[in-house]
């Protein structure tokens, strides 16, 4: 069996020797270097564009919106984002012009000789500005999208509650900070356009290019090159860069490369949505939740892009993994004159998780229950109903993960020790480092939300090569998370082959089908399942072939041998080759369908939001310096139920990596804005965790198998991002007595909270 084994990373050798080719490693003959000229004002009209008459423009290719052969938008959910601004600019990184030159340096120099003048309008820069509505920049109310999730009788239930707990929580922008900046190369053909580059979703890029150039499916070819991290940041923006490079290539009739430097990448590409989340919870004196009212506002930025789906996921996860029969969740995404926010691992869930877990800490304290008990009595278990009315019928690892994290970390005795040491009620102003410990408990729905997967019907295939190997055909991309390796493991076991006998086709839209985007913790659980079904279909064809050939009725594939009635007939390889000799090819495709009984109603926003959830619990330990108020996260113990771990080392890698991104979210990472522009768009002052900031991370994988996942697997990609920030905030509260309802908990923010507490 390959599944469950730590099979070595399929593309590991090339990544370790420097042989792997990322987009910036590729240079083509006659290639030009493109650059994007952007708005420098957050809102206004373009008055004039002046090209310095003393500069030699004969060497430079310039493109603007008038050069677009098709539609001037980046196709996504709503086609509202222009590829290049025409007259109006809505944020200060909005692309206006494109230029290409023989070298990157020359393009940089040419860019300095272009002058754009604007007639500025007052910008909307914050959620508060957008809601106030003094300036309307979208529709009639600045709201891109709103949702209501309602269940039970909330108003009546509040009357019955013994206690009402309120809280307001704030979460910031966060930058994905993949270490490989974004980049693309476009190669024009006579009537085709080929684009290759760093991306998560080749078919998103494919669709965007078709719309921009009015080309057919076959005329656009998109190829993913080795991709140096994505985390959501390479979900949708690569479509923009690809179309920019392609437009220049189309005009120049030469290949064009666009590689963002780090400053441009941080400034212009999408971030995690910042948000304000308010909770009002009705609780019995025994600590049971009886009524919950939650209001979510996310800042979508200047265009709708993915905000509606980020908001949807946020709303569905907003109550957390808890039982409450009377719920009203309102959610809005607002427009501001800032670069559009988008996908980042967790996709709305980390924001609401911070809020509901901080609220849970508050509720526990108000009713006098410890962090574990308040969660234990309210947690969702098998058979329980979620906020959208979904009955949880399988693979619910809630209790297991909470118990495992609490026991392994020795949480209860640590929290007692910390409380004794710190004397919560006493003065926090001693010079000794203060230790604290905090808990969080969370869940994450895998796959697209609601009816997304049912509509998408993701496709994948498996074919047999002339050598008798299996080859996987899928548009799912390897972005470091291990797609290639786990897909090969799944197919190897389905066909009884060794992993070395399974190949995987490059993600090239002319060669692989659309498996849907590589997002939403769906690659293993959803596409992995489709890959497994395709392999099963190949097996079935071969089985029937053997049955006919040997005149046997009951043929089975055991290991890699076909057998019937105890007789060994032939090897997989021999039969595969015989089949190919006769039929020329052997290939099968499969499509995803939801498990039976999964129903979602888009009208009422109720039903089975996801076919299954993954579950997690985290215990965070911190040390707070009482002089500088720096928070050091020293240890994370986490238990995560991800169903069957196809490759435990890769799964642990997902959990550890996601956890550290969440540590950054909780205490370090802060974007600083000035008039709609990020001013710390460099690694010198946008601080992500180094090895010295990283806590020791102890991971416990809980495997509550999901009957409809490949070999029982669920999603793992995003869950690890959800829970660390509130656990850290709870630990800081434990250490200092300061309840900080806003992340990141920087020294400045913690000091302010401590001073506020002292004044009170």
């Amino acid at each position: 069996m390959a599944v469950g084994q730590n099979v070595l990373r399929k593309e590991g050798h090339e990544k370790l020797t420097g042989a792997a080719r990322y987009i910036d490693d590729i240079a083509l003959d006659g290639m030009l270097y493109g650059k994007t000229i952007r708005s420098r004002v957050p809102r206004g009209r373009i008055k004039s564009i002046t090209f310095d008459p003393d500069y030699d423009w004969s060497r430079i290719v310039v493109a603007d919106y008038r050069d677009i052969p098709g539609n001037n938008y980046v196709a996504l959910i709503e086609n509202d984002q222009p590829l290049l601004a025409e007259t109006e600019v809505r944020h200060s990184e909005e692309p206006i012009l494109l230029i290409a030159a023989e070298s990157k340096h020359e393009a940089e120099i040419a860019a300095r000789h272009i002058r754009i003048e604007y007639e500025e309008a007052p910008p909307v820069l914050t959620i508060e500005d957008a809601l106030k509505g003094d300036q309307i920049i979208h529709g009639s109310d600045n709201i891109f999208k709103s949702f209501l999730i309602a269940r039970g009788d909330v108003d009546e239930a509040f009357k019955q509650a013994d206690l009402i707990v309120e809280g307001e929580y704030r979460v910031p922008h966060q930058e994905q900070l993949y270490i490989e900046p974004q980049g693309m190369i476009a190669i024009p053909g006579d009537d085709t356009m080929t684009v290759m580059g760093s991306m998560q979703c080749p078919y998103y890029v494919h669709k965007a290019l078709k719309h921009v150039f009015n080309l057919s499916d076959e005329q656009v070819i998109v190829i993913q090159t080795t991709t140096g991290g994505g985390f959501g940041g390479k979900e949708e923006y690569p479509s923009m860069i690809a179309a920019h490079a392609a437009l220049l290539a189309h005009k120049a009739k030469r290949p064009v490369k666009i590689i963002y430097d780090r400053a441009e990448d941080i400034a212009a590409t999408p971030k995690r949505h910042p948000g304000v989340i308010r909770h009002r919870t009705g609780v019995t004196k025994e600590g049971r939740l009886v009524a919950s009212e939650i209001d979510i506002v996310f800042d979508g930025g200047a265009y709708a892009t993915l905000s509606s789906v980020v908001l949807s996921r946020g709303a569905i996860h907003a109550l957390g993994p808890y039982r409450c029969d009377n719920v009203r969740i309102t959610a809005r995404a607002v427009a501001t004159n800032t670069p559009p926010n988008g996908a980042f691992r967790g996709f709305g869930a980390p924001q609401v998780t911070f809020a509901y877990e901080m609220q849970m800490e508050k509720i526990g304290e108000k009713v006098g229950m410890d962090s574990v008990e308040i969660r234990r009595i309210n947690m969702l278990r098998e058979g329980d109903i979620t906020a959208t009315g979904q009955k949880l019928t399988w693979s619910v690892g809630s209790e297991e993960v909470l118990n495992a994290a609490v026991e392994r970390s020795d949480f209860l005795s640590k929290i007692q020790q910390a409380s004794l040491q710190n004397g919560r009620a006493g003065s926090p102003r001693s010079q000794e480092k203060r230790r604290g410990v905090g808990l969080s408990f969370f869940f994450h729905g895998a796959g697209f939300t609601g009816s997304g997967e049912a509509k998408m019907k993701a496709q994948a295939g498996v074919e047999i090569t002339p050598e008798g190997h299996a080859r996987i055909l899928s548009g799912s991309t390897e972005i470091g998370q291990g797609t290639r390796t786990i897909f090969c493991q799944i197919v190897a076991d389905e066909l009884g082959l060794g992993c070395d006998d399974v190949e995987i086709e490059e993600p090239d839209t002319s060669r692989v089908p659309d498996s849907g985007p590589t997002v939403a913790s769906r690659t293993c659980m959803v596409v992995g399942r489709v890959v497994q079904m395709a392999a099963r279909e190949v097996k079935e064809k071969l089985r029937r072939f053997v049955a006919e050939r040997y005149g046997e009725a009951d043929v089975k594939l055991i290991e890699n041998r076909f057998v019937a009635n105890g007789k060994d007939l032939a090897s997989f390889g021999a039969i595969a080759r015989a089949y190919l000799d006769l039929h020329g090819e052997l290939r099968a495709y499969a499509r995803y369908a939801n498990p039976p009984g999964i129903e979602w109603d888009d009208e009422t926003y109720s039903g089975d939001a996801y076919p299954v959830f993954s579950w997690g619990a985290i215990v965070a330990e911190v040390e707070v310096d009482p002089t500088t108020w720096e928070v050091a996260v020293t240890k994370i113990t986490t238990a995560q139920d991800i169903g069957r771990a196809i490759n435990p080392i890769l799964a642990e890698g997902q959990i550890e990596g996601g956890t550290l991104q969440a540590v950054g979210y909780g205490v370090l990472e802060e974007l600083v804005w000035n008039r709609g522009r990020i001013v710390n768009n460099q690694l010198t002052n946008y601080i992500i965790p180094t090895s010295l900031d990283a806590p020791e991370i102890e991971t416990i994988i809980v495997e509550k198998e999901y009957p409809h996942g490949p070999f029982g697997a669920k999603g793992v990609g995003e869950l690890p991002m959800d829970g660390a920030a509130p656990a850290i905030a709870a630990a800081v509260y434990d250490a200092t007595g300061a309840f900080v309802p806003e992340i990141p908990i920087t020294p400045e923010r913690l000091l302010a909270a401590i001073e506020a507490r002292e004044r009170a």
Binding site: G18, D25, A27, T659, I697
Partner: protein, 152 residues
Amino acid sequence: MKFSFQINGAEREIDAPPMKRLLDALREDLRLTGTKEGCGEGECGACSVIVDGEVINSCLVPVCQTQGAKIITVEGLARDGRLDPLQQAFLECGGAQCGICTPGMLIAARVLLDTNPHPARDEIKEAIAGNLCRCTGYVKIIDAIEQTAKTV
């Protein structure tokens, strides 16, 4: 101007402007693209190479400063098709995910083990603190370096 140095054991000469970044000389003039650019300002360490036994950020060093130096890049770690024990350990422990920080990480780790063959875990963390990784949480990178030190 002409500059010569020893790269991965071979004598090489290039003709480049003296202030050209060593990173660009490696990637463009010598087509050694294993060395990566992540930030261009010496923060991420993806461009780390070994110059005369020390780890440097090749995005911050002009090529004129490396005249006559001995330079090792990630392409120079494997010998005769056999992986360096560090590369093997990264493969086995899961130390590489997206792979973009990996060349720099391996370079920093190689210099650590060359100068301190049996480092403590804290010393390993210190040695790779100039190399950012966004995928792994560093756990399996540190494991891989530790495993190499134990087995070699």
